[in-house]
Symmetry: C2
Subunit: 95 residues, 2 copies
Amino acid sequence: MNQIFKALSHPVRREILSLLRDGPMTSGELLEPFDMKWPSLTGHLNVLKSAGLVHAERYGTIIRYRLNTGAAEDALAAIMALLGSNSKQESKNDN
Amino acid sequence: MNQIFKALSHPVRREILSLLRDGPMTSGELLEPFDMKWPSLTGHLNVLKSAGLVHAERYGTIIRYRLNTGAAEDALAAIMALLGSNSKQESKNDN
DNA sequence: GCTATAATTAGTCATATTCCTAATTAGTGT
DNA sequence: ACACTAATTAGGAATATGACTAATTATAGC
């Protein structure tokens, strides 16, 4: 869970996930919108992969990255737990 | 948003938020469950405060920390946006 | 085997995070 | 003013992060 939030804490990585929302993309395609060199992107992709947020598949010479929504759902659940897990929390008991 | 996810990326800080879910606590009370010195806790509390996840109020010599659910809801919305949120991303009731 | 393309790993450096100890601030009471 | 308690800020060291250049791997085609 730690890794998931850490992965989400960098704007480039959130942008990558946002791009992948519209479908899988190769490393090269993902590189274009960003102003960084390829190894930096690879680093971010590795962080996302370690966190389970993306999944990589090789097709010949290219590698395609796909969003893994399951891990993101875990983060969602964690935040919802912090919020009281429902839309309202009235847990202001005596203290 | 960056700061919120960064704040959530440390287990101690998520635990602090979890503790505050049951009601506001002082810095001293928050210190007890953790195996760290006071300045470290203060550091974590400052990170949470900067992210807007907690709010501090001084009552005499003590300072009471309160969970601010609004910021957490922002993080929730951000993750839901990444997920594509099934069909919509503005609902807080529907789940 | 050689070359070209796609992408990664290795290594380095600057900056950020996270912990600690020591010193300081803020408020209450004498 | 002085002491006591609650909590913070200051400063420093170890580790993690994020960027780069250069070298390497992986695959396809000739």
